[in-house]
Symmetry: C2
Subunit: 138 residues, 2 copies
DNA sequence: TACAAATATGCAATATAGTTTCATTTATAA
DNA sequence: TTATAAATGAAACTATATTGCATATTTGTA
């Protein structure tokens, strides 16, 4: 008998410490990708390095994936339940230049891309930029 | 009567100083995107800030475009002649995890991407990762 | 329970890329 | 020639990411 957060961590082979449960909860409540800074801002009591390593552990265990959205701050977002962080699981991300939030566009996978002869692809970092629905004027 | 490099700079409203001509030449000779660090390594006599500002000027004047390939070092590559750095000019980039070079894949434009309702897109940073033809084994 | 080993955390220091300030030099134009 | 504008060089500074090490906590085992 464990709570769903602990269960999720256990399913990913991550020991469910108090800190990790809180960080996971935070990630689940946000519908946008989060940065280390935003975690720091939300968890004053926790140390930066702990939060940093928590994110790294989550990423390593494929609970979250990282997004380099070009803001200079790496963002992290929860993977889908079925995610193995392989090419087939990759999706576009959208960075809103107004609210500065970054979202996963999981409704469509990335299209097949014709690579030059001899090239092989294993990963992708695909970030679209513009204005999100919430920030759109008019 | 001016050399092609100067002409290219002039066409982009960039005053052709000695330094800028050399940097442009360097960019044209490389078939991969270059970083500030690689410029520093190639131009020992020039100051970092000069090279930095040269890149920024080139980018501003749409002579080159920047690529955040996730290595932590911004890369820069020459735009195509016809480029206006608008959405239609965007293309994928490929970062080889072996030789660490980053290339423009200009042979195809990015496909049309279905955005959530209300989202509008103005830019993109699309980086594919894997192994390039030169580094492919076998 | 008690102890040993493994793991997680907190604090501090470090690394690195990017950026800015300001003085000096160089180019441009009246 | 002189005044003005622009480019360059040197140095300092900022921000993010990362690591080392001591302490605390958890876990497994007798």
């Amino acid at each position: 008998m464990q709570n769903p957060l602990e269960e999720k961590l256990n399913n990913n082979n991550i020991k469910p410490t108090a800190m990790r449960i809180l960080v996971l909860q935070y990630l689940m409540e946000k519908n946008a990708a989060v940065s280390l800074k935003s975690l720091e801002a939300s968890f004053h009591k926790a140390d930066t390095s702990t939060l940093y390593r928590t994110l790294k552990t989550f990423e390593e265990k494929k609970l979250i994936h990282s997004i380099d959205d070009g803001t200079g701050q790496m963002k992290y977002a929860l993977c889908l339940e079925t995610c193995n962080c392989v090419l087939a699981d990759q999706h576009y991300h959208f960075h809103c230049t107004v609210c500065e939030e970054t979202f996963c566009l999981t409704s469509q996978n990335i299209p097949s891309i014709e690579l030059p002869k001899g090239f092989s692809m294993t990963q992708a970092n695909l970030v679209l930029k513009g204005v999100c629905a919430h920030c759109e004027v008019g």
